[in-house]
């Protein structure tokens, strides 16, 4: 067991999504991403770790289809295409903010993606209730977002993401605004969900400790222009819990990752 700066090989075989030589230049001339290569495989928990301005959020937005690449390609080798030729990405996005509709109850917020997809009413409500149960918010279906704490809002946001049963979950610094206690709790819940739901997660963070705790692979990115600096395999076994968080192994992995991040920032 060691944290080696090598790519996890399983992603390369049959990736879910593959970025090849992706460049992204914003209209103001900023080079957000340069020659970005990344392959993400089944059931990976991949963290993109880097300083602000390294383009890690841009990677997520490009993968989700919210922006266009300037050059290079993003392939979905195993996904079909819809009527407009867009790949059927089958993903969900969790933003840094909970991004809930303040005028809608927890249930209505969670049900939204199914409603937009035209799922029948009884089925979508049943599925939304199940998603709310999975994030331990049952009993709060009728509450409005303003009645909830920051952590609970984020749980609603996660429930909304998982209600469509996606293959890939994209998370853009979802816990950055939460206090440490709540963040640890949500980390544990997220890992539990990841294991039971067989997702692939791409998780953007600027916290070394969070990325090591959650991921089985960390991509360290450097800024100006945003690019991959190094990759680390985190081979500690799951399930991970508080005993892992306090272990010498965890401390060692954090040290190696910090070192890599420091080098990336010194570039």
């Amino acid at each position: 067991m060691s944290a080696l700066p090598v790519a996890a090989p399983r992603a390369a075989l049959s990736p879910l999504v593959r970025l090849a030589a992706v460049n992204k230049v914003f209209s103001n001339g900023t080079v957000a991403l340069k020659a970005m290569d990344l392959a993400v495989g089944d059931n990976e928990f991949l963290s993109l770790l880097g300083p602000s301005g390294c383009g890690k959020s841009t990677v997520l937005r490009l993968i989700s289809g919210l922006g266009e690449v300037s050059s290079g390609s993003i392939d979905w080798p195993r996904a079909g295409t819809d009527a407009t030729g867009e790949p059927q990405r089958d993903l969900s996005f969790v933003f840094q903010e909970p991004t809930l509709m303040p005028w809608a109850t927890v249930l209505d917020n969670v049900v939204l993606p199914l409603r937009l997809a035209g799922v029948a009413k009884t089925e979508r409500i049943e599925r939304a209730r199940e998603a709310i149960r999975l994030v331990h918010l049952d009993g709060f279906e009728g509450a409005y977002p303003r009645e909830l704490s920051g952590g609970m809002k984020m749980r609603v946001s996660i429930a909304r993401a998982l209600v469509t049963r996606p293959k890939i979950l994209l998370m853009d610094e979802p816990f950055a605004a939460l206090d440490e206690i709540t963040r640890f709790k949500l980390n544990n819940d997220l890992l539990e969900l990841w294991q039971s739901q067989k997702w692939t997660v791409i998780f953007v963070t600027h916290s070394v400790f969070e990325s090591v705790y959650l991921s089985n692979r960390i991509v360290v990115m450097a800024a100006r222009p945003g690019r991959v600096f190094s990759e680390l395999a985190i081979d500690a076994p799951y399930p991970r819990d508080e005993s892992f968080r306090t272990s010498a192994r965890y401390a060692e992995l954090c040290r190696v990752t910090s070192e890599s991040l420091r080098k990336a920032m010194a570039q």
């Binding site: 996005f93 991004t99 809608a104 993606p113």
Partner: protein, 285 residues
């Protein structure tokens, strides 16, 4: 992670149930009592000034005489009040329908907004007293002419507020709708219109007061020549006859109408937004 470690109540805001007196929350009582006290003091002072200086009623009637006139002339004033209310209500209804429809069109097409918004502004910045005489010439039906005048002033706050509201839906929520492949209709009804609601209601509150002003101003512009018989007409008519108490009585009815409209729309705003909007939330800090 067991279900036992939910973070249900870590930092969730607490909503306080206030003790009530006569069905009114205790903190609201000074809000009612203080203006009421000022009003009573003013009335007493008014009455005293009239009595002490022996001011004749055709120059300044005392409050009691105004009240008496209000009751005595109710047969004349009430039909006028109804007419003013009808014009206002109709103008406001058309302003809401037109304003919201146009705002939705603006939000759906940048071209429509670019083409029409300047004209909406022109309509707004031109004083209604200046346009009213022209409208009164071209429109034969007096009521319709008054309605158009009231509509012109009530229309703009609804249009501009709703347009602002429709465009201020949260950026990430818009991305979310896009991600889940929402149609434009879904985005309009599930995201943009609810997000615009607080803005629209704010506009409605302003428009309510303005529609009354528009109706009254237009009637003044029409003068006694017009066959209109709303409250403004009664003020003009009473003025020519030097019936000062009736002028005051009609004025009081106009003010009361304005106050009622304001209160109704404030209550509506609170009722619609009480569940979710910051403006309607009371927090204990």
């Amino acid at each position: 992670m067991s279900a036992g470690t939910r973070d249900r109540d870590d930092t969730a805001p607490v909503f306080v149930q206030e003790p009530k007196v006569l069905g009114i929350p205790r903190s609201a009582i000074p809000k009612i009592l203080m203006p009421l006290a000022i009003g009573i003091v003013t009335l007493i002072a008014w009455d005293a000034v009239v009595r002490i200086n022996n001011i004749p009623y055709y120059i300044l009637p005392g409050p009691l005489l105004v009240g008496e006139t209000l009751i005595k002339d109710w047969g004349t004033l009430y039909p006028s009040l109804v007419i003013t209310l009808q014009i206002m209500g109709a103008a406001l209804t058309v302003a809401v329908l037109g304003g919201v429809t146009l705002a939705v069109m603006f939000s759906l097409s940048k071209w429509v907004e670019l083409s029409f918004f300047p004209y909406a502004v022109i309509l707004q910045v031109t004083p209604i007293v200046a346009i009213a005489p022209l409208i009164l010439i071209y429109v034969d039906d007096m009521r319709l002419a008054l309605l158009i005048c009231a509509w012109i002033v009530a229309f703009f706050p609804i249009l501009s507020n709703t347009t602002l509201g429709l465009n201020s839906a949260d950026h990430n929520l818009r991305n979310l709708f896009q991600l889940y492949g929402a149609t434009r209709t879904q985005e309009l009804f599930l995201l943009r219109l609810p997000a615009a609601m607080p803005f629209f209601l704010g506009g409605l509150r302003i428009a309510g007061g303005l529609s009354l002003i528009g109706a009254v101003v237009a009637e003044f512009a029409a003068g006694t020549a017009g066959a209109g018989s709303g409250l403004a007409y009664r003020i003009l008519e009473a003025g020519y006859r030097l019936n000062i108490p009736r002028m005051f009585a009609a004025l009081i009815l106009i003010s009361l109408t304005g106050i009622c409209i304001f209160m109704i729309f404030t209550a509506l705003q609170h009722f619609v937004l009480r569940k979710w909007h910051e403006s309607a939330v009371k927090r204990e800090n």
